[in-house]
Symmetry: C2
Subunit: 208 residues, 2 copies
Amino acid sequence: MIFSSKFIEDAVQEFSRLPGIGKKTALRMVLHLLKMEKNEVDGFTTAISKMRHGIQFCSVCHNVSDGDKCDICANPGRNRSQVCVVENIRDVIAIESTQQYSGLYHVLGGILSPLDGIGPEQLNITTLQQRVREEGVTELIMALSPTIEGDTTVYYIAKQLAGSEVNITTIARGIAFGGELEYADEMTLARSIAKRLPIENYVTVHSK
Amino acid sequence: MIFSSKFIEDAVQEFSRLPGIGKKTALRMVLHLLKMEKNEVDGFTTAISKMRHGIQFCSVCHNVSDGDKCDICANPGRNRSQVCVVENIRDVIAIESTQQYSGLYHVLGGILSPLDGIGPEQLNITTLQQRVREEGVTELIMALSPTIEGDTTVYYIAKQLAGSEVNITTIARGIAFGGELEYADEMTLARSIAKRLPIENYVTVHSK
């Protein structure tokens, strides 16, 4: 596409770097921003800038946070003996949106995937072991995507915690195989947390 | 959706104001920006901010411009006796991208649409008449969308210019009725400019 303005061209270029945004969609967004009031556009850019520069990661659960500890870890009303282990921030948002879970979280930052070069060192597993040892966690709910990599991660973590008294469960398989956790509807996701299974059961079902 | 960070929430909120962006897509974009380097995100916000604050509208053709006159009007290599009349900036970009047109443009800023409260006063028609009178324009190519509103606008402008010697043509109807100009492929659009028809012809074909 040929633009008669460098400003437009640069803005379109930047927008088309976002996932799922081609040149035409980027142009539509840029022209929409062009029609908006200047202070509204300033609000848009400021929100993004603040987000990128202001965001921190919770020192306890590695969730995104506006301070040192995230709102969930800092909330005294949450059940501190229950920790839900998830792959990423999106999963925390998905589970929180069901409003059915009152425990804490632990964001791994990915799942074991040797082909992509992701081993245990790349994930927040050491801090999870530490939390289990030191913070009186009695239950770990594994809420990882039901893929081979997710299962491998569950097995790995269970093995690492073999000596401890923590009860490891996984969310119920209400979600289709190969489906992504973040796209599940809230009802299915809420039920799958309520109907979680002990890990022995999970292994049996899975190896059949 | 429940976010555990106000920063994320605000950024998602801002993104979901853009056309065609829902909450989930907005979140995907925000998390993508979160993974990008800080200076890359600064590049993104700066490009948008610069675009919104720096953009001007060409004093001649009302196209977007980085200065008082747009690159097209300022280019001495363009044919100044030919003016292509379009609805908006997107149409200029679409026609420029065909690389088959070497004349100038005139951006109306819309088309006549009484139901939406858009009359001749809301459009850049006075400046078009002025250009025809004062700048030696010999041909006006009407490149408006082939809808009732587009046709009405063509008739209206032709009527306003009745006394002048300018030759009014319309782009050839290679584009399907009800189709939007900006989504036409470049080949069809280029041909429809090359095969433009005199306005008498257009009226006859249309009233049959």
